[in-house]
Symmetry: D2
Subunit: 327 residues, 4 copies
């Protein structure tokens, strides 16, 4: 059992809290949340409420889950690393690539393991897809199509602190693209529109986008985004190779189909990321346990954070200027 603490018990924090509590290899000792009264939540998982300082000073704590608000991630992660605690940081590590680079020394070669949790990499379906591509089942990979459509747009007033569509949302797809395709991307092109809610345009953001990435050999990845699918959480990937195609289809809520005069109706798509990626979040926590046990290096950390952020910034620039951006 590895003794750990968690910072933050908000929306993503509650997901990680439950998985940490249920993970048989982790002992969740402390819950830190400077902004909320989390005593009841802490009690429900058998943890104590504590301050971050106390956690950092406690030598029995081996690792810390950073699941606070995005703007606190970097500072808290740096503090934990400095104290020699392994870090599980909810993505993103930070929204500003320049700021990340300023701390490159502490983040790229950290004093303790730094794991930035990109959940898609832990989804069993995407892992199976990648294994089949790597196994040569579709020959040489040539192009990829990623569909990442959210069920419904957040209220527009939440968006100004999000970093914008590309950093907040497409960031997952940039990471997937890099994870699936063999070579680095050299160019980005993006179109972005506001088709869902005019209030989103008013706060300077977009809600619908298509992004293209290409590598030096001309292999292309296309990313499709919308903030509102109208049909649940649409999460698919298609990979095209020299010998065929492999894809991950949508995951539906149950295996029931009802056939009537007017056709067959299947179950709805998963309603959102919590249910669609429930296994992935558990997988992240297992990975953190592996890291604490010295059995794994972090799948994603500083390098993956910087790489996806660079693609997000290039996409934002392309969407704004209307021109392709070379990396």
């Amino acid at each position: 059992m590895h003794r750990i603490a968690q910072i933050g018990a908000g929306r993503m924090g509650s997901v990680h809290l439950k998985n940490a509590a249920l993970n048989p290899r982790l002992d969740l000792a402390f819950l830190v949340d400077p902004r909320l009264d989390v005593s009841e939540i802490a009690a429900s998982v058998g943890a104590q409420v504590a301050t971050l300082d106390k956690v950092l000073a406690d030598d029995s704590v081996e690792g810390v889950i950073v699941a606070s608000s995005t703007d606190a991630h970097l500072e808290q992660a740096l503090a934990c690393l400095a104290a020699g605690k392994a870090v599980f940081c909810e993505k993103p590590l930070d929204l500003d690539a320049g700021r990340l680079k300023a701390f490159e020394a502490q983040l790229a070669r950290p004093a303790a393991p730094l794991f930035v949790a990109f959940n898609r990499r832990f989804d069993p379906h995407f892992q199976a897809l990648r294994a089949r591509i790597k196994g040569g089942e579709i020959g040489e990979l040539e192009t990829v199509q990623i569909v990442n459509h959210d069920p419904a747009a957040p209220p527009a007033h939440f968006l100004p602190t999000s970093g914008g569509l590309f950093k907040d949302f497409t960031i997952h797809d940039f990471d997937m693209a890099a994870w699936l395709m063999p070579d680095p991307f050299v160019e980005v092109f993006a179109w972005a529109s506001c088709l869902v809610d005019p209030a989103i345009a008013e706060v300077g953001d977009v809600d619908t986008a298509r992004v293209m990435l290409r590598d030096a050999r001309g292999r292309i990845c296309v990313i499709s985004n919308t903030r509102r699918s109208g049909c649940g959480y649409d999460q698919r990937i298609e990979a095209f190779g020299s010998k065929g195609m492999a894809n991950v289809g949508d995951v539906v809520q149950d295996a029931v189909q009802v056939w009537r005069e007017d056709g067959a109706k299947g179950a709805p798509l998963q309603p959102g990321f919590m249910s669609r990626y429930a296994d992935a979040y558990r997988g992240e926590m297992d990975h953190f346990a592996d890291i604490l046990a010295g059995e794994a290096q972090p799948e994603t950390g500083y390098a993956a954070s910087v790489a996806s952020l660079a693609l997000a910034e290039a996409a934002a620039k392309s969407a704004k200027t209307g021109q392709p951006v070379r990396l």
Copy 2:
């Protein structure tokens, strides 16, 4: 081009008429229908209206499609065979196994080829299924499940002349079972109910049935029937073998799916036999052209007719007595 005639221009007759007219190897010269004025129909396919006597006396006519009412099939087929004409007889050849046996000499070793058209054998999907079973893809075949569900029950007053559910409807499934499974069946068990329309019970028929057939080794086929599926024409077969399963799923009207909040909706099933088995009916006509050209022996004739009728009679007896029937 083989010169042919057709008897009957009713529901099934019109299907065959069109396929005969469009078949590049057949020259449909005459249309015979003692009960209807078919001059306009005949003109539409470039055929002349004629009497059966005239057709039988015309040496240029090589074959005759018998698509009249069921009760006329046997007599007309016998007359055509006696005149040396190859016969394409819409199923059934007759509803009475005893009567068929009385003409065994003329039917089992006929003077000209006798093809009784069991359409399922010419369906490309079922043919593909059979090819894969024969090719060993599921190992040794052990059990089969046939679903044959009609969209909507016919008016009850049509049923008394139909021969009853087993002879009129399940007959197709008995033929499929024999076609797919390697050994003859030795026992039949059937339950039949009237769940769809009480008027069907009033005329002495049933509308819902489950029939089980088994061979001497204990391999089992289950047939599922209803006169009213409530969801279109449900036509499926599952074959279970020592190394897996092969199945033919339902054929839907188009490849469109619509995803909304409440789930994904696909197109309806085919509405009935005319659309579901359109390719099969064309295939039957091609087979008749092959027979006329001397390139094929009839896929099904007297033997298949007698065999499926025997199963139908056994099933009817089992349903009536509540006991299994040994063949």
Copy 3:
């Protein structure tokens, strides 16, 4: 938190042990296993090894999970109930309907809640199917088709104590049939064969069966069983009603499809009951927590056990005599 104990840490026991340990409303205090050294297993879930007597004498223990070998279920369940402990008993409660009836007083109106765990009723897919049927989506339910095919037959020497195919395996389907269809069954017909492994016949059992059940109105359920599907764990239900059909399809291992020249290949079926019914086993444990909290009555207990056992005995008799059996 409800303090509980578990008897048995074998194959099914280990499933329940993990779910009990992870259930936030249950405190698994003791593990009893008279036949194995379970100290390490107990430690892994934070439980103490104890004797059944100690558990029964401990007033703090509210409930007991009976997951021992089948032949011990009844005696242990009775002892627990007599001690006032709520019981979660892995199915079957017993293999002998007569013996159950001998204890009807203690079992049908037990001193503490008795839950006999039929896992299918807790499968989210089958629950969704039932909800849609109950919701009237397919009109009035008329017939049901249940496919329950195991991946691979157990070694024949395990079978003599199993109770035979119908009591050991089809028992799930009998319970599903009763759960889905509105009226009691009045007649059973079964054919059973040994097609998979001759050694199964040598020990007096069968490996392949088709069972038909019907109610007084003529509504029919067909059950399809094999001990070896050749293609994983094939678990499907189709329900046919007056306005259409609803079905639960197979659950596959992942959502990946690979398209190549020779067709599209999907992921394998779930390899067995542990993965296919993982959610159902968790659901059973939640239900036990509800029972302990006084928030639910046991979904299934003595009555369901006796009912499904009666169908199993009737099916076995039908298969042996070749005759239908009236209930």
Copy 4:
């Protein structure tokens, strides 16, 4: 019956020839092919071999199918129109938008109906998709994704006269995009690579592309192309709207699935355009019969030809310059 002639009996010509011969409303009287001896082919469909001059001079001929080589389409179509014959012209009318515009007077307001056959518009699946979009089933249409992947690249030496990927192949997708989306496109961006066969690059063409189109409101269409899918003829469209998504999936060769230990395998995709679009080609011919009967105006003619060619030229320019192109 409308008396018609056909020019050309090559690959596409043979498709139209058969459909014309089988169409009950058309009388295919003449076959013109200046380059081949087509006497046998003509005889097989009951047509006479003739010169184009003879056809043009024959007042009984109401229409002409132009299915010659692409470089002859425009001149022959103009000659037929000048002679008052309705024209069914295999796409493209011409590969050069400038040349088409030079004949705008004769083509945009032709002396007889001019139908340029874009086959996708007559595919029943795409028609059903469009009907559901128009019917409001997915709310307001926002974005479209078109996948058009050929099974295998043609020999590179055929490509120089093809007009290049965008004019030869993507042209279908440009027409589909315009057909599905409500507003004209205002900007095009394309990336194109040579990933399939270096010989294609050597003749100055590309084999893999992604094209994006957008309209003034910011609605986006993405087109995916490859000359070699490795898995048959992959033809799909997805349409995303404010209330959900509608898509046309791939059409497979049969409805058989085979389940084995390693997963379920479905039938291959259609091998190419002849089988995938067989219904569409028949639909085109029906449309031509409607035009000849005065019951329909041509679905596509000069305007659609110019529009799709303009998009193709813009895409080619974008791919070459690396910059988006405003229309």
